[in-house]
């Protein structure tokens, strides 16, 4: 055991300056990121493949659906050929996959527009909505959780727990309707439907996105607050380093913010990564309610139309975002925990 002390001395010889070099060259975080990236690729492929399979299995002739009930068999056949719809599954999938590697996501079956163009127009809107909902709910969650954890079982705590429970239990679409009724019909603060682009009018843009963002964000806020508050309280009550800090005479707020909070973020980071998929999926319901012309808005419509390229395009983008977000969460986790960054030393 006495040897351990010497080992420690030797190993930790490199100080703060050669830290940076060591980090870049052989950083475990970088290696971690690399490994995760590698693992993410089959996942992405799996998602796109599965989607293609599912869309393909949908009964009903795509060409017929597109042309409507009055189409003649000849017209249907002609459209099928035009859209390559009667080629075998693998050919179609291969074409699509190949196209993707060349940067093309194909064309919408309904209106022949480039899927990339469609997504280019709609994705930023969904992105703005998501970022709005996410950032506001996260900021509020941290604020509430900290206040709640400062006085466990106090007033602030009980209020935040009640709000969390409510937010958790309400369905986003229900919340959307309730919000519309309250804030758009009764007190007319926000528009019930419609979207204004930020380049036209920034204030109107924010207003038009507020109710949808709230519908998405409230359940998020609820989940984040609950988890963070529980983690902070657990740190404050069960961890020995908190007792050390108290014994030092450190002020309670500083103990909470400087010691407990940083150590409580890990659960939240993982949760954010996991929740992203659900959040993105929810836009498919929320956007149509508020007539926000985002990617979620056309998702349902495209599925109904059997418009495979559009559906695939959206799914691919969403899957990439989810996988990337989880990857980022993993990296962030490692970055925040020095034990993972620098590895362990003897004893």
């Amino acid at each position: 055991m006495a040897v351990a002390e010497h080992t420690a001395t030797d190993h930790s010889g490199s100080g703060a300056r050669s830290d940076l070099t060591r980090r870049i060259l052989g950083s475990s975080t970088l290696r971690l990121a690399g490994r995760r990236l590698l693992a993410a690729i089959p996942v992405l492929w799996g998602v796109t493949f599965l989607t293609y399979v599912v869309m393909d299995l949908l009964p009903g002739d795509t060409a017929q659906i597109l042309l409507g009930a009055n189409a003649t068999p000849a017209e249907i056949h002609q459209l099928s050929v035009e859209l390559h719809l009667n080629e075998p599954f693998w050919v179609r999938y291969g074409n699509w996959l190949g196209g993707m590697f060349h940067g093309s996501l194909g064309q919408s079956l309904t209106n022949q527009e480039n899927v990339t163009t469609i997504l280019g127009a709609r994705l930023p809107i969904t992105a703005e909505l998501l970022v709005y909902a996410f950032v506001v709910s996260l900021v509020l969650a941290v604020g509430f959780a900290v206040l709640a954890a400062r006085w466990p079982n106090g007033i602030m705590d009980r209020i935040s727990l009640a709000i969390s429970m409510t937010g958790l239990s309400i369905a986003p679409y229900v919340l959307a309707l309730v919000l519309i009724y309250l804030f758009a019909v009764k007190i007319q603060w926000f528009p019930a439907i419609g979207y204004t682009s930020p380049s036209v009018n920034l204030v109107e843009n924010i207003k038009s996105l507020t109710l949808p963002a709230a519908s998405l964000g409230v359940p998020l806020f609820a989940v984040y607050t609950r988890l963070l508050r529980a983690d902070i309280v657990e740190q404050m009550q069960r961890e020995d380093y908190i007792v050390t800090a108290r014994a030092k005479g450190v002020r309670p707020w500083r103990i909470l913010l400087r010691h407990a909070l940083p150590n409580s973020l890990f659960g939240l980071i993982t949760l954010v990564g996991l929740n992203l998929g659900t959040l993105i999926g929810a836009t498919a319901i929320i956007e149509p309610i508020f007539s926000i012309p985002g990617a979620g808005d056309i998702l349902v419509q495209s599925i109904n139309d059997h418009d495979v390229p559009v559906v695939e395009g959206i799914v691919v983008v969403f899957a990439v975002v989810v996988v990337a977000a989880n990857l980022l969460a993993d990296i962030l986790y490692a970055a925040l925990d020095p034990r993972i960054r620098y590895g362990r030393v003897a004893s």
Partner: protein
């Protein structure tokens, strides 16, 4: 804290800034936290499944247009009628049946399939874990909503299809929890002891792993139950769940949306029941988690 402090006291009382006025009061509050939501759920189950068979209730789908659009508290229709003439109260009850049935089925499937997968992945690790985890990852990254919509759209909306579609969502979620719970358990010394004493794989699983992760899975499933009910509502809301004219809280909300400004109660009443049910499930899950110290 020091070894001399009995753990039971620290866990039982930790976090209270003020000790409860009387021990009895604390006991009552704790019991209420469990039995109030549980009681409500039992009430709802009874109302939805037992009442219509025992006491006559207006038919939920064959209302007459003559009575359309009645407001709540009208004679014979406590909650009024919808634009087609159906009695809202009975639609709430029958819609509740759907919600509970779907919730129970999806949760059960999630536990059985997802739970099993997760336990296997966590217990055996290695290649088994890698494969199962990748599959679960794909399912989680996959926008389950798309799949649900696709199934509903392609196979036609029905309760069974909704169950399949939502199971795709519930299996990976339960699987993840089961896996991490098993992993945590595996590190504990008593597991090592079991393995060293020569207990074979399956027996260890059944006698040691499963009993110990059941509490965690149960509380997770209760929360999941609520989520499934909300999702079923979402599908029905989009017209891809339980087909009209059958009753479902989600489709009732969708219908009510059209007359939101004029008669908001058509949205508010099913929303209120949806909310109350999910809140009760969540509260119950919390209370059980506290009881079982998960």
């Amino acid at each position: 804290m020091a070894a001399s402090l009995p753990d039971l006291l620290v866990t039982a009382e930790a976090g209270r800034t003020r000790p409860p006025r009387t021990r009895a009061a604390a006991g009552w509050i704790r019991a209420l936290r469990l039995w109030l939501p549980a009681g409500f759920l039992i009430l709802m189950l009874g109302a939805c499944f037992v009442w219509p068979n025992v006491y006559p209730v207006p038919n939920p789908v064959r209302g007459s247009v003559l009575y359309a659009g009645l407001s709540p508290l009208s004679p014979g229709h406590i909650f009024g009628t919808d634009p087609v003439g159906n009695d809202v109260f009975s639609r709430i009850l029958y819609g509740g049946q759907v919600s509970f049935e779907v919730g129970a089925a999806v949760t059960a499937i999630g536990l059985a399939v997802g739970g099993l997968l997760g336990i296997c992945a966590g217990y055996w690790g290695g290649a088994v874990d890698a494969i199962i985890s990748r599959v679960l990852d794909v399912l989680i990254a996959f926008p389950a909503l798309v799949l649900a919509l696709a199934i509903a759209e392609g196979l036609g909306p029905s309760e069974v299809h909704v169950i399949w579609a939502l199971s795709v969502f519930s299996i990976p979620a339960t699987g993840r929890i089961a896996r991490s719970a098993t992993l945590e358990l595996r590190e504990q010394t008593f597991m090592l002891a079991a393995r060293l004493s020569g207990t074979r794989g399956w027996r260890v699983l059944v006698r040691h792993v499963i009993p110990n992760i059941v509490p965690q899975l149960m509380t997770f499933s209760l929360l999941g139950f609520g989520v499934v009910i909300i999702l079923e509502g979402a599908l029905s809301y989009l017209g891809l769940g339980i087909p009209l004219p059958e009753a479902s809280w989600g489709s009732m909300i969708a219908q009510g949306q059209q007359s939101l400004t004029a008669s908001p109660d058509l949205v508010l009443i099913p929303s209120a029941f949806l909310f109350a049910t999910v809140v009760s499930l969540n509260l119950l899950g919390d209370a059980l988690r506290e009881r079982w110290a998960v």
